[in-house]
């Protein structure tokens, strides 16, 4: 291609469906786009339900890579922007064309004042390409090698482009409120967070750290995962809860088989405490039904019963392989498989209870000073705002 892309066209997805609230969604999306493109210099334009990023100094590929991580964007296209002028359009179309193979030209004419229809203009541009190629190009409207799109806007400019690169889809982060993600360091929890962020949830994350049973490397892994998620959400507030004392207490006073169940009830309680303080509307976990003993219906009932905030489990019906596929797509897999212990593998019972009952858990917890343990852990919790940069 002998002409450079000078503009990126952004189409948004589901926001189209919104009625009176559309402005709220759009403002949020634009804010998220601008945050994702920081600190690059560019001109941002809105026109007829599309956005344009123009005059950027940065490589087009870098901008595209950042934009395709912004939830709410349906697709983006690197484009060449020219004045709407027949000769200019022909010249640019020729410069962009590979000059061999089968093609079609699709014109969309928003500017209805122009003295030609979209089909007529497509024919004219197609004709110019055919002539310039000296017979090497062929028109085929259905079975084509490339499709040149020409959007003629009502601002006196036209945009020529080939690719529609799929965006991340979903809704702009923040439009659905905030959530508190239980982030362990494994494969599942970052995927769960990503899926909820895709539905517009701003992410906070909470990690339970069992030093000296888990290392600083394990904590670094969680921070790296949060940084990866930040690439999609603009930032993640990470809360690190010291968990060793609680594990000691459970280990000492409760039956081994209930270790994980009671541990998870503590995690949920602490997550809810901090979630409410941070004005989160839900707790998010990476649980998938039946994956391990603590993820049976009965176990989830017992751990769920200590909180009143809704608990979102976006992976509940996913197979492990499906989860891994997403984790690879969002680049968290390589971090998740770093071989460090997480707090759940410490004091791991040989035979964890698979169908615990709430009554039993409550009975065992009566042996502990639950409130004091939680208060102490929350007091010593640290927080850090993690960005992708």
């Amino acid at each position: 291609m002998s002409v450079e892309y000078n503009c990126i066209l952004i189409r948004f997805g589901e926001i189209f469906l919104k009625g009176h609230n559309r402005k709220f969604f759009e403002d949020l999306l634009i804010c998220n786009i601008k945050s994702a493109l920081k600190p690059l210099k560019y001109t941002f334009l809105r026109s007829q339900g599309r956005y344009y990023v123009e005059d950027a100094k940065e490589e087009t590929s870098e901008i595209v890579s950042r934009l395709t991580r912004v939830f709410g964007i349906h697709s983006v296209s690197p484009a060449v922007k020219v004045r709407t002028d027949e000769e200019e359009l022909f010249k640019t179309a020729i410069a962009m064309s590979p000059m061999t193979g089968k093609f079609r030209v699709t014109v969309k004419r928003a500017d209805k004042r122009l003295p030609f229809t979209s089909a007529e203009m497509a024919g004219k541009i197609g004709g110019a390409l055919l002539k310039a190629s000296g017979g090497k190009l062929k028109v085929d409207l259905f079975d084509y090698d490339f499709e040149l799109n020409v959007d003629i806007r009502d601002n006196g400019y036209s945009y020529l482009f080939y690719d529609k690169i799929p965006g991340a889809g979903g809704l702009p982060v923040g439009c659905s409120g905030s959530g508190m993600l239980l982030l362990s360091g494994g494969i599942d929890s970052p995927v769960a967070g990503w899926l909820m962020a895709k539905r517009g949830v701003r992410l906070n994350a909470i990690h339970f750290h069992s030093f000296p049973y888990t290392s600083e490397l394990a904590l670094q892994k969680v921070k790296d995962l949060a940084a990866r998620l930040s690439g999609y959400t603009g930032g993640v507030k990470l809360f690190v809860v010291p968990f060793t004392e609680i594990q000691y207490a459970i280990h000492e006073k409760c039956p081994e088989s209930f270790m994980i169940t009671i541990m998870r009830r503590f995690m949920m309680r602490i997550a809810e405490r901090i979630a409410r303080r941070e004005e989160c509307g839900a707790i998010i976990t990476g649980e998938s039904l039946g994956q391990v003993a603590s993820q049976t219906m009965q176990s989830m009932n017992v751990t769920n019963s200590v909180v009143t905030l809704p608990v979102f489990r976006p992976l509940i019906g996913f197979d492990k392989e499906e989860i891994i596929d997403i984790s690879q797509k969002i680049d968290t897999f390589d971090i998740s498989i770093r071989p460090y212990e997480d707090c759940c593998t410490v004091f791991l019972p040989k035979n964890p209870v698979i169908r615990p009952k709430i009554g039993e858990a409550v009975e065992y917890e009566n042996r502990l000073d639950v409130d004091a343990l939680i208060e102490d852990a929350v007091q010593r919790t640290t927080e850090e705002f993690i960005t992708s940069k």
Binding site: F211, P212, Y213, H251, Y340, E341, T345, F347
Partner: protein, 376 residues
């Protein structure tokens, strides 16, 4: 802070650091340059080479500078000629640099055998003998075990090798031996010997491979033909000169350091008897610089982190129970159950003090009792 992980790496000693600065800011010239300054640096490198060779009793052989112990081991494995599909013997408790090199040769069709080690990590001579046959082309046995400090009698093993397979080459990884125990390759049937600089107070990034007089090495890294064409790349003059300075300093105090470190080793060793679920892995007659033990009830990693909180840095044998690569050594030492995951390695330097040993014992007892009360 008490630093008992000197087998991982050491602090750079002032003499070595000063040498580095001098060769980076004053004598920075390319040793291959034809002007006087270049030649002068080249002569310095040759002096360092001769100095290191003399300290290992290798004056009859050659020394090639490399980027470290790992590269030296790789060069020994991949730079030597070996008959196709012939037998290669390494010990079960080799450092990963040797083990992984052997695994590459195994994939290439060589018959790689592992010589078993005893519970202290030293090669079992009788079992070793049985593996040798006429078809053996290469043997590699670590001199001082980086896991336990066990010292293999490499001269004897090399002699046995040459009797059974006269054409075979004998290599030893001497990374934990150099500058710490007496090495004398003079007259020994040892063909190749690896050394590293950063274990004895020089910076990371420098090592050397000794090759006996008639051993031919093909380059693994090609280029400008430095190091006699065996290892191209502009010489790391600062690293090489610092290596020489550190090695000289260690050798000068070798006996004195050995007895000081032995005192520390023995002190902690006997103090560890307080716990009935701690087994000492290091042999009594090994290198005093390493003291390995394992706990049957607390994972090594947990001890490491708990000691870290007390300001004591130690090493572990096993990074994580779920990590397959870390099971090789515990299996070789035939450790069972919790002991396999409970390895802790203390490693000292000649600057370690009895006071540090005492403080270590106090802190360790406290930490260990505490950890055990929770997991026991």
């Amino acid at each position: 802070m008490i630093y008992f992980d000197n087998a991982a790496t050491t602090a750079v000693i002032p003499e070595a650091a000063e040498t580095v600065v001098r060769y980076m800011t004053e004598k920075y010239f390319n040793p291959s340059a034809m002007y006087h300054e270049g030649l002068s640096v080249k002569n310095d490198i040759e002096r360092a080479r001769a100095g290191i060779l003399s300290r290992i009793g290798g004056a009859q052989g050659k020394l090639y500078f490399t980027s470290g112990g790992t590269e030296s081991d790789n060069l020994a494995f991949f730079g030597t000629k070996k008959k196709k599909n012939s037998r290669i013997i390494i010990s079960e408790a080799e450092h990963a640099a040797v083990y992984q090199s052997a695994m590459v040769l195994k994939q290439n069709g060589f018959d790689v055998c592992m010589a078993p080690v005893d519970a202290h990590g030293a090669v079992d001579t009788d079992a070793f003998k049985e593996l040798l046959n006429e078809n053996t082309s290469f043997v590699s046995v670590i001199h001082v075990s980086n896991e336990t400090g066990a010292v293999n009698d490499i001269v004897k093993l090399a002699e046995i090798t040459k009797r059974a397979a006269p054409g075979a080459l004998f290599h030893s990884d001497g990374v934990q031996a150099g500058g710490k125990i007496r090495i004398n390759l003079n007259g020994a049937p040892i063909d190749l010997y690896s050394l590293s600089a950063h274990k004895i107070g020089a910076p990371k990034g420098t090592g050397a491979l000794y090759a006996a007089k008639n051993v031919h090495l093909n380059p693994v890294i090609v280029g400008g033909g430095q190091e006699g064409g065996v290892r191209s790349s502009t010489e790391n003059t600062a690293g090489i000169m610092a290596f020489d300075a550190a090695f000289a300093a260690c050798t000068e105090k070798l006996n004195e350091s050995f007895s000081n470190v032995s005192f520390i080793h023995d002190y902690i060793r006997s103090a560890l008897a307080f716990a009935d679920d701690i087994k000492i892995l290091s042999p009594e007659s090994g290198s005093p610089y390493i003291l390995s033990f394992c706990s049957g009830s607390v994972r090594g990693e947990v001890i490491e982190h708990a000691m870290e909180r007390e300001g004591v840095l130690v090493g572990t044998g096993s990074a994580c129970s779920s990590n397959k690569a870390t099971r090789r050594i515990p299996e070789a030492l035939k450790l069972k159950g919790g002991y396999a995951e409970g390895i802790v390695r203390l490693s000292f330097s000649r600057f370690s003090t009895p006071g540090e040993a005492e403080a270590f014992v106090v802190k360790f007892k406290k930490v260990y009792e505490e950890l055990k009360s929770h997991v026991g």
